[in-house]
Amino acid sequence: MTLRYLLEKEFKQFFRNPFLPKLVLAFPVLIMLVIPWIMTMDIKNIGVTVVNHDSGGAAERLIRKIETSEYFILNGVEHDYEEALTALEYAKTDAIVEIPADFDRRLTTEGSAPVQVSINAVNDMKGALGANYLGALCNEFSRETLGGAVGQGGAAAAPKIEIVTQNRYNPYLDYKMFMIPALMVIVLLLLGGFLPALNIVGEKEKGTIEQINITPVSKFTFIFAKLIPYWVMGLLVLSVCMLLAWLVYGLAPQGNVGIIYLFSVLFILAVSGFGLIVSNYSDTMQQAMFVMFFFMLIFMLMSGLLTPLRSMPDWAQYMTVINPPRYYIEMMRMVYLKGGMLADLQTQLWALVAIDAVLGTWAVLSYRKRE
């Protein structure tokens, strides 16, 4: 069986490489230990400057509340709006809360009082979330302050409907829980894509591919022998990632681990197959590298990994239909966070099988033993 000899060769070459085995081990460990802390969309430490025109106790209490919130940093209390605006313009603060002169009086007599919030929305996400948090803080404040008043018959200002949100699947809204499965996808995508892309073209540069092309080895066997090591490596790397997610972040899949491995086998075949295709068409490592960079970015940005697919324009959503990471990431989040079962993942499963069939065939056909 020729495959066996080719596999021996691939594994020996991999382990004899002074750099690759270390990379394959260090890469997932670093990504899993470092990135979850950095890649967070929780907006914290929003700088707030208060412009206070009132000297009453209610205004003072509102300021204290802002100061003690974990989301805000109180950058100072001014008496002049213009000064605060200058600070905002120089990016020394992110938001201005202006408390009017009759704040305390209107609150006690009318049961409601306006507060103006101006926010720097250059980063629209930060702006929107900051405004949201400030709104929530003010609501809470009015509930606390007016709670007593309601008892005294001032019911007009009391909210009639209170919305209680229950966060399913990620109860503490921890962004890490959302990102960790996505990071595993990134690790597999990068390792499983780049290494094969550099492999065949590497043999072309060294000239050893000639010695293979001159033998009667079949294209299928050759490509298969190139793929299997990436399967093994990918599944090992995935296991390391899952172990770290559990040990460091206490995150274990809610669903069946077997589903994750089944999908991983399919996913690695897709990305490694793609890498081999790029390698087959490239003449130099440099060329293969740049082509891979180009596609990797598209794969990642169009997968729903970082931004939700549903917010993309229709044409972009149609394009994601052929993007393998899209299905893999959907599966990962579903199994990890929601405890999804195979029956819930039929679309993703068959989509990956179809993509594998196309890319696998293409990888074999694009390897040409004859010019």
């Binding site: 021996e8 060294k206 000639e210 004859r370």
Partner: protein, 247 residues
């Protein structure tokens, strides 16, 4: 029955765009022969050889190697030939025995014979002590001898050698040619390109390519008589002078 031909080429042509690298060459190589394939740099030797090995598809013409059509059944051709290129191409990061095992395995040498055959070969080459040495640490002369042995490990009908002795010292070249003779004695046909005219003298027959065509083909003695000169060197100069192509 006429003499058995291992290689038969007829009007074999390769064009790259408008450039004709190999221009309608026709020749035969007999079984067991050492056939020298000469020509200046850029004359089209390597391209012609790559077509015969099934590595490159001819633009026109036909050829058979070991009875297999190189256009229609290149993979069958490959089962019957060995090949060693001027660009040394064993796996540098694999050890000596691992390279032998890899190519032996690909050509279907049985697992149980592998170890014995490997040891025999290494002893014959006198490099048994280097069995576990990575190929990249062997001196060039040894590498080339090893590459040649690997190319004929599966007893092919023809072995193609593309400038096999480039860059090695005269003693290693001489040893290499002894190996070529041994192979030819065992019935393996040798098809060899070279730039060394003393090596051309060792061949049974020699063809000289000029600008993609075969301008002369005969035994070294016959060529010298035909051109009325005393050495292959002078034959080569006479022909190469007419070349229009630059380097």
């Amino acid at each position: 029955m006429r003499e058995e031909h291992v290689i038969e080429a007829e009007g074999l042509t390769k064009m790259f765009g408008t450039f004709t690298a190999v221009d309608h060459i026709t020749f035969d190589v007999k079984k067991g022969e050492i056939f020298g394939f000469l020509g200046a740099n850029g004359a089209g030797k390597t391209t012609a050889m790559r077509m015969l090995c099934g590595l490159s598809k001819p633009t026109a013409g036909r050829a058979t190697v070991a009875g297999c059509d190189i256009v229609r059944e290149p993979e069958r051709v490959k089962r019957n030939i060995g090949y060693m290129s001027q660009k040394f191409s064993l796996y540098e990061d694999l050890q000596v025995w691992e390279n032998i095992r890899l190519f032996g395995g690909i050509y279907g040498v049985a697992e149980r014979e592998m170890a014995q055959k490997t040891d025999d070969m290494l002893r014959r080459l006198g490099i048994y002590g280097e069995k576990n040495t990575p190929v990249k640490r062997l001196p060039l002369g040894w590498k080339q001898k090893l590459a040649f042995s690997v190319a004929i490990f599966h007893e092919p009908k023809v072995v193609f050698l593309d400038e096999p002795t480039g860059g090695v010292d005269p003693r290693a070249r001489r040893q290499f040619w002894e190996m070529i003779y041994e192979a030819a004695d065992r019935g393996i046909t040798v098809f060899v390109t070279t730039h060394y005219m003393d090596e051309a003298e060792y061949c049974d027959r020699v063809s000289i390519m000029v600008d993609g065509r075969i301008d002369a083909l005969d035994s070294p003695g016959g060529l010298k008589r035909q051109f009325g000169v005393g050495s292959m060197d002078e034959v080569f100069y006479k022909l190469a002078r007419e070349a229009k192509r630059g380097e």
